[in-house]
Amino acid sequence: MLLLFQITEAAGAPVNDVSWFDLSLALGLILIAVGISRWQKLGLVKDFIIGAIRTIVQLVLVGYVLVYIFVVDRWYITLAILALMLIVAVKAAIGRQNKVNPQLKWITGSAMLIGSALTLVYVTTLVVTVQPWHNPRYLIPLFGMIVGSAMNGAALAIERLNSEIETRSGEIEAYLALGANYRQASAQPVRQALRASLIPTVNGLMVVGIVTLPGMMTGQILAGSSPLTAVRYQIVVVFMQAAAVAITTAIVTLWYRKTFFTTALQLKPHGSENT
C-alpha cells in the first residue's frame, strides 16, 4: 500500500505533446463513426463531418482565446468571459423547454448567477485560494464546470416542475380549494422537481472514480499531474458542482412555481377540461 502511495504521489510523468500531425491521425476515429453511420444508413454522415469540423475550429479558437486571456490577465476581461459563459448556459437551459414562461429567462438567469457565483467565490477564496482573485487560469475552467452543472440542474428542475404541475393540477387545486397558499399547494411538485434535478448529482457522488473517471481528473493526469493532486482537485470539483446544482435548482423551483399561480391563488392556465 505504501509502495502504491509512493508511486502515485510521484510527480507527473513527462507529457507527450499532441502535434498537429497527431491530431490529423485522430480524425481517423471520426471516420470510423462516419463509416458506421453510412453502413447503417443513419443519416448522420453530414452531422458527424460538420460536428468534427466545429469541434476543431471551436476548440482551437478557444485555445487561442484562453492563451490571450491568460497572457493579458485583466480582471474585467475575465469577468466578461464568465458573463458570456453564463448567458450561453442560461439560453441552453431554457432553450429546450417546451413551455417557456416569459419570466423563466430571468428566473433561470438569476438562479444560475447566484448558484454559480456563490460556489465560485467559496471555492476560489476558501478552498483553492486563487491569487490574484481574478486569475483566469483558475476562474475560467472552474466557472465552466460550475455553470455547466448549474445549467443541467436548472434544465431538469424546470422541465420536471412543468410536468409535475401539469399532471398534479387536480391535487394542486384540491389544496387551493381548502384554503392553501401557493407554497402549500405546490409543495409536492416542488419536492419532486428538486429531487429529480439533484438525483444525478447524488448518483455522481456515489460512483465517481468507480463507474466514471471524471474528465478533468483524466485531463490533469494526461497533462502530467500527480494522480493524487488530480484526485484532490476532482473532489473539490465534484463538491462544488453539487453545491451549484443545489443552490440553483432550489432558487429556480421555489421562484418559478410562483408563476403558475395568479394573485387570487388560481392555477394557470385553467385546469379543468369539463365545462
Partner: protein
C-alpha cells in the same frame, strides 16, 4: 346594493366566462339560496363545472359580477372565502398518508390547531358516514366511493357555510351514489350547509335537491323548485332534456 333576496348566499349578474376562444358561460343571472341544496343539471358542455368553479374563485369570470353574502366575491381574501366555501371535485384527490392525515391537513390549511383534533376528526368522519375502521387506512387504498367521502369530510374540516360539489357521484355505481347523496342531504340539513352540486344524474337532482338549475350551451334555461322543474315546467327544451334521461 339591492339584493333580490336576503336569503341568497350567492348572486351572479350577467356573468360571462371564456375558455380560449370559446364562450362557456353567457349572461348568467342567478341566486343561490341559503341552506338549500341546489342541483346544476344540463347536457355535457353546458357550463355547469365552469359555473361552479367561479363560486370559490378557482376561476374568475371574464365579465359580470358575483356576490357572496352581498359583497363582491373578489373583496374577500381568497383563502378566507375558500374556507367558507368548500369544493369537492369530480375525481377525488387523496393527500399523502392515512385517512385521518387527510383531515388533519385540511385542518392545518384552515389555520386551526391540529393538537387534540381527534374528536373533531372522528365527528367529521361520522358525518361523512365513513366507517371507523378506515380512519387509519392509507388513503390511496380506498375505493373511489370511500375516497369521495373522505374528500367531503376534508372539505367539512373548515366548517364551511357552503359546499360545492362537482359531479361527486360520477365515478360511483348507482347504489353507492344513492348512499352518498343521502349523506349529502343529511349533511345539508344537520349542519345547515348550503350545497350546490353539479350532477349528470337527473334522478339524483330530483331526489336530493330543493332547487334545480338547468343549463344548456352556457346559459340557464330553467331554474326553480326541483318539484316544479321536474313536474310542471312548460319550457320545451327543458322537457326534452329531462325526458332524455341523461
Amino acid at each position: 346594493m339591492e339584493f333580490l333576496s336576503e336569503k341568497s348566499v350567492f348572486e351572479l349578474r350577467d356573468v360571462r366566462q371564456v375558455k380560449g376562444t370559446q364562450i362557456v358561460l353567457d349572461g348568467i343571472n342567478l341566486e343561490i339560496e341559503k341552506g338549500k341544496i341546489t342541483a346544476l343539471v344540463g347536457p355535457s358542455g353546458a357550463g355547469k363545472t365552469s359555473l361552479l368553479r367561479l363560486l370559490n374563485r378557482l376561476d374568475d369570470p371574464a365579465n359580470g359580477q358575483i356576490f357572496y353574502h352581498s359583497r363582491p366575491i373578489a373583496e374577500y381574501p381568497v383563502q378566507e372565502l375558500r374556507l367558507q366555501v368548500g369544493f369537492v371535485f369530480q375525481t377525488p384527490v387523496m393527500f399523502p398518508g392515512i385517512v385521518a392525515d387527510n383531515l388533519r391537513t385540511a385542518l392545518e390549511l384552515a389555520g386551526k390547531p391540529v393538537a387534540d383534533s381527534d374528536g373533531l376528526i372522528a365527528e367529521t368522519l361520522r358525518l361523512a358516514e365513513i366507517d371507523a375502521s378506515l380512519f387509519e387506512r392509507d388513503g390511496a387504498r380506498l375505493s373511489v366511493g370511500q375516497k369521495q367521502r373522505v374528500n367531503i369530510a376534508r372539505a367539512l374540516m373548515s366548517a364551511p357555510a357552503v359546499l360545492l360539489m362537482d359531479e361527486p357521484t360520477s365515478a360511483l355505481d348507482p347504489e353507492t351514489a344513492d348512499k352518498l347523496m343521502e349523506t349529502v342531504r343529511h349533511l345539508g340539513k344537520e349542519k345547515n350547509i348550503t350545497v350546490v352540486m353539479v350532477t349528470h344524474r337527473l334522478s339524483e337532482a330530483k331526489r336530493a335537491s330543493d332547487t334545480t338549475i338547468v343549463m344548456e350551451s352556457g346559459k340557464i334555461i330553467e331554474t326553480g323548485a326541483t318539484d316544479f322543474v321536474f313536474g310542471q315546467t312548460t319550457n320545451p327544451r327543458v322537457r326534452e332534456f329531462l325526458s332524455s334521461g341523461k
